[in-house]
């Protein structure tokens, strides 16, 4: 229904709200239909599984107390919606949203009161908070509305989350989240105390009971219908409703009752006092609501049969009269344009109906016979008179509070309707009958309920049955004879009247402030969180790369270092070396690495790195890893070429080093990490006991993999899946290089490709180091030589590719060699030569490569084998003779293509394209370096 609402509003304007009102009205009808069951103390229950694992079920149960709430939620909701149809002007902005959210809220509220699963109850609980957030922010242009909406949301959610935690604690202990069963098995001790306090956090915050009262008055920024429904009749009742539902279970367990009574008392008194101080009618009602909720909490928390009866009656009564009063204020506000009691005058005489409604409602509020309010108050006073000393103390509070209520009740009537000599009568627009209908009905219901007290008693007593019956059962009624209760009522009324008269005389009392302003506390907290957030973020989020790396590395050193040092013992035993050659190689590597780390010029650092790289390659040789050594040599060479290509554009020297302190720190971390790495390597190798899986590789490589070079068999067969991922990395990296270098290139977009097609050959050739070079003839010679070499090298690379399966080589080595051949061509003759050598788009090459490799894998699947399974084919060909072919070679061909593609792409981007940038740059290179 909420979904449809906006459409309806668009169609019918405000009148659509009548249609929407049918929804809550329907629930009322349904509830009325269930009266029989409920009266007889039975319950309407319904359960649907949702997330059984979490104990979260769509479990609904409606017995007496929920039934009352359903009537209130539905009835008041329907009336308020009908009222809104008149309240809002046709042009009202966001009316559709209002209708939708209002309707949705009613639904959530309904769910809340009939939920029988604590978690489900929380679900609806939060939903009502969210909808109230949206409704308070109905006019979001106002900062006040936004602030108030956010405040209401945060406060109620804060409480709600506490309550959820409490529920979880109870539920996990009891093993069920059923409201009706959880009480069966209660934990004890601190656990229970914490759980109960947490639950109360939710209840009190929702009902704006101290110390959470402050959000409700601010929430008056909402449209009056919203205030009437959410913040008087429905949502704020959720808290006291929950108290009413749980008290039968927890009344005996401290600190349940203590907390409720303490907070309730404070709220009742301070709320009443503050209400008295207001000059804005709506705010007067708002603080009145706060105060009344405090009272209801006290009564429902008392945990005796009579009190329960009284509480239920008070709750119903309050919903009726407070909603009515809000609606009245809405009408006053709407028709006169003000709610200030000192700008209103003479309204009573001109609007008798309105005044009558207000009087009836206020009568109920101040407990004046024969209203429901009176009946309820009687029961309340009687209940507390019967109790022990503490409840007698509470009785005093209740009487005092009631007196205050009387005070501001009368003041409200005076402020709204009386003719004030010092104020001249204010004009107001006419009021339609439909507009007053809702408040009239509400007020009359309150009156009628009072007159029909015994009937009401019949409906509410099933709830009171939850408590042990006392000797003489109290029953709601107008007349119990001259009981103490009656006396207290009289006292309250009299004192209240006195208070009212006092307020008329002087205004000095209005300057008396409340000692506590929880609102400012909230503001302070929020500000504190903001500040904390900024401070903390400022500390942790430095935005500096070295800082982040430093943190990670320090963590590494602390952890690994700690384990190495303290978690001994570690295996001992160390051999200096396998062959002395390793010693030599190691020496070179160490020297070169240290020198590279301290080099001041880019080129030097690069060359030294290359040296250490070659050193590592030689280590590989001595270790017995020829393939590795071969690849390492080639990779180092390609790396050097790449560096040269880029470094020719960058300034020759590194920027001057920063502060000594920073540098020392850096070196310290470096050393520490180095030591830790070495240490870990040492202990890990020393800790090996098990046989490596690779022991079986040699014979399997031949028998199953069909190759003698085990490393290659691993790459293209045993662990070909790794290699597939690896070439994907290469492909992406190549794409990335192009994307970075050509990033700025508009041509790219026109062509829709990121790589330029090979340009026509024969354009101006550039030599590496200088753009317009003097020694172009020398370049020519070089070109001739390289052209001669080129094809031989390429042939060799192909040889490597195909022998790889049995001898050192393979796709990687082959591809790199071919790539180097291209590099030489480029270095000799610039991009013209490059394009002449490889008139293909690198992208195509890469794509084809991946397609071939992955295709091989897919093909083997299509042929019924596992992915990437290889087959050995032996056959004789004319001329060639016997051929021993392993399908995994196809995979290796793909690798070869990709590697070539990568190098070609690098040459095109870091080489040719940078040449173009350089030519297009106005400044010749030397100045640029100087700059």
């Amino acid at each position: 229904m909420a979904m449809l609402a906006p459409a309806l509003v668009r169609a019918l304007g405000p009148k659509a709200l009548y249609v929407v009102a049918l929804v809550p009205a329907a629930t009322v009808a349904w509830a009325v239909a269930q009266t029989g069951t409920v009266r007889s103390g039975g319950a309407v229950a319904e359960t649907v599984a949702w997330v059984p694992r979490l104990g979260l079920e769509l479990a609904f149960r409606m017995d007496a107390f929920p039934w009352v709430m359903v009537l209130l939620v539905g009835g008041v909701g329907a009336l308020v919606l009908a009222y809104s149809a008149h309240y809002f002007s046709p042009g009202e902005d966001g009316l559709g949203r209002f209708a939708a959210v209002f309707c949705a809220f009613a639904g959530a509220m309904f769910g809340l009161v009939v939920a029988d699963d604590l978690l489900l109850l929380y679900v609806f609980w939060e939903l009502t908070s969210v909808f109230s957030y949206l409704l308070i922010g109905h006019d979001p242009a106002k900062g006040a509305s936004r602030w108030a909406a956010m405040q209401a949301l945060l406060v109620t959610t804060f409480g709600g989350l506490g309550m959820l935690t409490g529920f979880i604690m109870l539920g996990e202990h009891a093993g069920t989240y059923r409201l009706s069963e959880v009480a069966a098995d209660l934990p004890g001790g601190a656990y229970l105390v914490v759980a109960l306090v947490l639950v109360l956090l939710g209840a009190l915050s929702k009902s704006a009971v101290f110390p959470f009262s402050f959000w409700l008055p601010s929430a008056m920024a909402a449209p009056t219908p919203v205030s009437a429904y959410l913040h008087a009749a429905a949502m704020v009742k959720a808290g006291v409703f929950l108290i009413g539902m749980l008290t039968p279970a927890f009344a005996a367990d401290p600190p349940w009752q203590q907390v409720i009574w303490a907070c309730g008392a404070l709220t009742f008194l301070f709320g009443g006092w503050t209400a008295l101080r207001q000059t804005d009618l709506k705010l007067m009602l708002a603080y009145g609501t706060v105060s009344q909720l405090g009272m209801i909490a006290i009564v429902l928390g008392a945990g005796t049969r009579t009190a329960a009866l009284a509480g239920a009656a008070l709750l119903a009564g309050h919903a009726l009269f407070k909603a009515a009063l809000f609606l009245v204020v809405g009408i006053v506000d709407k028709t006169t344009g003000t709610r200030e009691i000192y700008s209103l005058s003479g309204l009573g005489a001109r609007r008798p109906v309105l005044a009558a409604v207000a009087v009836t409602a206020v009568a109920s509020m101040i407990g004046f016979p024969p209203t429901l309010g009176f009946v309820a108050k009687e029961a309340m006073l009687a209940a507390f008179w019967d109790g022990g000393p503490w409840s007698r103390a509470m009785l005093a509070v209740l009487v005092a509070g009631s007196a205050l209520t009387v005070g501001y009740g009368l003041r409200f009537l005076w402020g709204a309707f009386a003719r004030k000599p010092e104020v001249d009568d204010c004009g107001f627009a006419p009021v339609g009958a439909g507009f007053v209908a809702a408040p009239v009905l509400l007020a009359l219901t309150g009156l009628a309920a009072g007159l029909l007290a015994p009937g009401v008693d019949g409906l509410l007593s099933p709830y009171a049955e939850a408590y042990p019956a006392t000797g003489h059962d109290y029953h709601l009624g107008l007349w119990h004879g001259f009981t103490p209760a009656l006396g207290f009522s009289a006292v309250a009324l009299a004192t209240g009247a006195g208070i009212y008269l006092a307020t008329r005389r002087t205004s000095a009392w209005r300057s008396v402030q409340l000692p506590v302003k929880s609102g400012t506390v909230y503001k302070g907290l929020l500000g504190g969180v903001d500040r904390l957030a900024v401070e903390l973020t400022g500390r942790t989020q430095r935005g500096s790369l070295p800082f982040y790396l430093g943190v990670i590395l320090v963590t590494l050193v602390l952890f690994a270092g700690g384990v190495l040092v303290f978690a001994g013992p570690w295996p001992v035993g160390l051999k200096p070396f396998d062959t002395p050659l390793q010693l030599a190689a190691g020496g070179i590597i160490v020297a070169a690495a240290v020198a590279a780390a301290t080099a001041k010029r880019r080129l030097t650092a690069m060359v030294l790195t290359g040296v250490s790289g070659y050193g590592v390659a030689s280590l590989f040789i001595f270790h017995g890893a020829p393939d590795l050594a071969l690849t390492q040599f080639l990779v180092e060479t390609v790396t050097i070429v790449m560096f040269v290509l880029v470094l020719r554009r960058l300034p020759a020297g590194f920027s001057e080093r920063p502060l000594k302190k920073v540098r020392r720190f850096r070196v310290a971390i470096g050393v520490a990490v180095g030591v830790v790495a070495a240490g870990m390597a040492y202990v890990a190798v020393g800790g090996r006991t098990a046989e490596p899986v690779s022991v079986d590789f040699p014979e399997l490589a031949v028998s199953y993999g069909g190759g003698h070079n085990i490393v290659n068999v691993i790459l293209v067969d045993i662990r070909a899946w790794d290699t597939m991922g690896e070439i994907a990395v290469l492909l992406v990296a190549a794409t990335g290089v192009a994307s970075l270098i050509f990033g700025r290139d508009r041509l790219m977009h026109r062509r829709g490709g990121s790589r330029p097609a090979p340009p026509a050959t024969g354009e101006h050739v550039t030599w590496l180091s200088r753009p317009e070079s003097d020694g172009s003839h020398q370049a020519i010679i070089l070109q001739v030589v390289t052209r001669l070499l080129f094809h031989t090298i390429v042939l060799f690379s192909i040889y490597l590719l195909f022998t790889g399966h049995n001898h050192p080589g393979g796709g990687f080595a082959g591809g790199l060699v071919a790539g180097l051949a291209l590099a030489i061509r480029y270095l000799a003759g610039g991009r013209a030569e490059l394009n002449a050598a490889a008139p293909v788009d690198a992208g195509k090459l890469l794509g084809t490569g991946l397609l071939v490799s992955v295709g091989t894998g897919a093909a083997s699947m299509l042929l019924g084998g596992r992915v990437l399974q290889s087959a050995v084919l032996d056959f004789d060909l004319p001329v060639v003779g016997h051929v021993h072919f392993v399908t995994s070679t196809c995979f290796d061909i793909g690798v070869y293509l990709i590697v070539v593609g990568l190098v070609l792409d690098i040459l095109r981007s870091l080489g040719a394209e940078i040449d173009r940038h350089r030519e297009s740059d106005a400044l010749p290179l030397p100045e640029k370096e100087a700059a």
Partner: protein, 147 residues
């Protein structure tokens, strides 16, 4: 297995030198650091496999062969490092092209927040209109319609 001292030292030095470069602000230095660390880690992986003859079946008894699996892992690692180095170099060039240098800059937004922290302020964007709401009393000027 018994660890090999030379390897242990080589690993330590390569990684150490590389890390000290990695913490630099110049991208070129960082790249060189990456290459050095990469080599160091490769040697570390190499340590995990037995020393021996080239793992090519037929040249000798299978028992004497060096462990091929770490070699395959290293080979993969080497090639991946190659691709990444290329990418990093391209970045260095690009950053030089855009900024005229290849120094790694700090993040502006973070610097701004650090500034806020130093000036003891809250977040920049918050409910600024909040102040127009005197708490706890909500008052509005009479004479015009409000809700």
């Amino acid at each position: 297995m018994t660890p090999n001292l030379v390897y242990v030292i080589v690993v330590g030095v390569l990684v150490g030198a590389g890390v000290s470069l990695l913490l630099e602000r110049t991208l070129t230095r960082i790249i060189i650091g990456v290459v050095l660390i990469g080599n160091g880690v490769n040697v570390l992986i190499l340590m995990g496999g037995a020393f021996g003859a080239p793992p090519i079946v037929g040249d000798g008894p299978d028992a004497d062969l060096s462990d091929p699996l770490p070699q395959a892992m290293i080979l993969t690692a080497i090639v991946i490092t190659l691709g990444i180095t290329a990418f990093l170099l391209a970045m260095a060039y690009r950053s030089w092209q855009l900024l005229g240098h290849d120094e790694v800059q700090d993040d502006d937004e973070d610097t701004r927040i650090i500034g806020l922290a130093d000036r003891d302020e809250g977040p920049r964007a918050k409910e600024d209109d909040a102040e127009d709401l005197p708490n706890p009393v909500y008052s509005c000027e009479p004479g015009k319609e409000r809700r």
